[in-house]
Point group: C2
Chain length 353, copies 2
């Protein structure tokens, strides 16, 4: 099988880590029967400055018509509002209907307090519909934004969360070490305040997970504020957390703190038959150009993309090579307290493939 | 001076901790020249079940017309949406225009990694305006909520955040041990997605803090997802964090995890000349009735209320007594790993007043 992968480095360290993603795909053993073709694509703030569009139509068209998946780096947010600019990754998620943002947060299982959870974030609606308006009043300006929650999006995100819980259980049953015994989905919301919107998310997720095919999956709920508290007090209690878009954004950064660095945490933006791998970190202008960015989030994102393109064996190879690097702990980038350069970390991991 | 204080225990352990708040006020040394009168008031889910109103008009009227301040316990959220019920504390904040929710999160300064920050949460708008609607579409139900951000509310919350930063600096300069050297306000928002609403919060807060009276206060910004990450990676970097309502709700629970228990974290709902102290924890039905709830969040909330009623000397007495109990660490409630009953903790702290 040949997979055609779009490469969208974006801005800042996106340009340093996406090439590493390409290299690990190219280095996968031939025995897996996978071939890759790559297409370089543009998006980001630099693209906006050059072309007037942060997400050129061509990028979207090529992804839609020619690609099986993609890797997306990071984009800089301008420090002030810039007329006509808006985040290309948010637009891409909506244009390709990549309805699930899957963010596994996992330490090595040999850690003192191992962590193994995945945050499944709804990726197309909530406040991210970006329908805003501003008006004047005698007391000054007032701005409003719409938070939109649909039964359709809530149902499919809860369904994929349930499926991920079952898949994780299957991997555990095949002997992979884990801290969990039973699959569990935790529904996160704030329906004690937002009874209609978050109430709809909650009841729809409950309903979707009541489907008989999830009969072995435990289901519980946490109000989002309490969820953040518990995330830090007892992270080992969580397996799959499902949340509306904005809470998922916040929870996944919070969870990243549990494993020591955002530089370790991958994500995949998942739609029907298409997936974009995306490291959870940003463009990190402060460290850009020094060759010290951590490539692991991107390598794991490449693996995660493969998982959702049904190439689980290839994904497992990459995860294992990354885990071996971390478990040995000799070649670590500065965000993990090491002194290794991006290139050294990449080479160490490629060697272990 | 005589202060008339409304007591609203609410539900669950609210009934166990609010009496402790009353006792510490009554036990303050006579030399402070303060007298207290108390009025018992109703609110909460139990009140709703008895009277049909979660926040009886009488409670609001007495607070408005007769009281200088109040202590609020906690309310249970029903596990399913109940027609006609909505959170009385959210309503109270709006009805009394208690525009700031001030939540200091502080460890004892003798801790290994001491923490000393305060989250200043806007308390009247954002998604808490609770303007929601639901409609049917061919693809199922859709619900929408309004997130409203005004220049007026953003300006006054940023202003009180700046004032709190200055006040904290004054207390430090008077010799109180602290981990901070300079006052700093961190503005939290998500203006990279919500350019109008959170953009307005951000620019208005910047403007308010550019007032010359804040010339000695450092001002910086954090996007909310990154803020949660940094809160856990380098909590010692934060002094005053100011945020719109919902982010403030989430951040303050997150910060509470840093000091080991929600049972330690107080809050004050502050308006012009009025303040309601409120422990950050909930009604905790799981431990209710066992006499083991931690009274410290409430005792500190009583102190915080006094601070905002300009009784700083009285507040300082309570803080010192609580800190002495925690520093000795002999009589701790179970949430802190101890075995002491609520009553024993209260007595230990009263003794140290
Ligand atoms: C850059 C920003 C628009 C984005 C988001 O909020 O989704 C980022 O935080 C993420 O999590 O991918
Ligand atoms: C109970 C709930 C409505 C409330 C809130 O969201 O404000 C609580 O979480 C708090 O922080 O006081």
């Amino acid at each position: 099988r040949t997979l055609r992968i779009g490469l969208i480095p974006g801005d800042g360290i996106g340009k340093e880590v996406i090439p590493a993603g390409r290299r690990i795909l190219e280095a996968l053993p031939a025995s897996l029967g996978l071939k890759f073709e790559f297409v370089d694509l543009k998006a980001g703030f630099e693209t906006f400055e050059q072309t007037g569009a942060a997400l050129p139509d061509e990028t979207v068209a090529i992804l839609k018509n020619e690609c099986d998946g993609a890797l997306f780096g990071a984009v800089s947010s301008p420090s002030k509002a810039v007329k006509g600019y808006s985040s290309p990754i948010v637009a891409l998620r909506k244009k390709l209907d990549l309805y699930a943002n899957v963010r596994p947060v996992k330490s090595v299982m040999t850690a003192a307090n191992p962590i193994d959870m995945v945050i499944v974030r709804e990726n197309t609606e909530d406040l991210y519909v970006k329908e805003e308006k501003t008006y004047d009043t005698p007391e000054g300006k007032v701005a409003e934004a719409i938070k939109r929650i649909s039964q359709r999006a809530s149902s499919r995100i809860a369904t994929i969360a349930g499926e991920i819980a079952l898949r994780r259980q299957k991997i555990r049953e095949s002997g992979a070490p884990s801290i969990h015994k039973e699959p569990l989905v935790t529904i996160t919301h704030k329906s004690n305040v937002l009874s209609q919107t978050d109430g709809l998310f909650r009841s729809t997720a409950r309903e979707a997970l009541a489907n008989p095919r999830f009969k072995d999956v435990g289901v519980e709920e946490q109000i989002v504020d309490s969820m953040v508290y518990k995330l830090f007090r007892q992270p080992e209690a969580y397996d799959v957390i499902v949340a509306p878009n904005l809470y998922g954004d916040i929870l996944s950064d919070g969870a990243a703190a549990l494993v020591g660095s955002l530089g370790l945490v991958p994500s995949a933006n998942v739609g029907e038959g298409f997936a974009i791998g995306e490291p959870c970190h940003g463009s990190a202008p402060d460290i850009m150009g020094q060759g010290i960015s951590n490539p692991i989030a991107t390598l794991r994102s490449a693996a995660l993309m493969l998982e959702f393109l049904n190439e689980e064996a290839a994904a497992a190879k990459i995860y294992a090579a990354v885990d071996a690097n971390l478990e040995e702990g000799k070649l670590l980038s500065p965000d993990l307290g090491g002194t290794a350069k991006t290139e050294e970390v990449v080479q160490d991991i490629l060697r272990r493939l």
